[in-house]
Symmetry: C2
Subunit: 118 residues, 2 copies
């Protein structure tokens, strides 16, 4: 039951674009999805991969992605807790977007201060 976090779309042309960006905007979501492309991953592992994100933000973003039906959250009843995050089918269908972003970013690193090391 996806809640209507995304309203106000009366759908001019270009609305589809707006709808899609609304799911991956913010500083972190696209990066999170990118790392999830490699397969299921635990909360703290993801946190280390993303780098620079606080626990609070990571939790927030993951919850929103889950609410939008893009990722799955699986809790293991273990005692050092374990939670795996993975892409749903819908999330996986975003991969053309994510990869396009990555390719463009790599090809245009010169726009930014530092260059990709290797």
């Amino acid at each position: 039951m996806v809640k209507a976090r995304h309203s106000r779309l009366d759908c001019t042309p270009g609305c589809a674009v707006e709808a899609a960006v609304s799911l991956i905007d913010g500083k972190w979501k696209a990066v999170i999805l990118y790392h999830l492309l490699d397969g299921p991953i635990r909360f703290n592992a993801l946190r280390r991969m993303v780098g620079g994100i606080t626990q609070r933000m990571l939790t927030n973003q993951l919850r929103e992605l889950e609410a939008d039906g893009l990722i799955h959250r699986e809790v293991f009843a273990q005692v050092p807790p374990r939670v795996d995050y993975s892409l749903s089918d819908r999330g996986l269908s975003l991969s053309p977007i994510i990869m396009a972003l990555k390719d463009w970013g790599e090809a245009n690193m010169d726009l930014f201060g530092r260059r990709l090391a290797a």
Copy 2:
């Protein structure tokens, strides 16, 4: 001379993704770029196409896109003023991203309240 609006990229993997989204995030930029794919367009025509954007926001977003080297701004010395906006080569190279967003958005309109009319 592109200014360093985009700093802090010490480049973990996934940084390319972060860099790319930083250029098209916000509620409007991707939509603006999408409409620019159809060719040069005047300020107010763009405003009408985007729909719901204020003058101030449109101006802001266009200036940022220009600063990032994604669009050109051509001023005609006429007296009802005329300014055309168009994609630069670099902006045009974003089209895979924009089209991927559009395609995904159209394919997943069911996530959002209303459906694309036709």
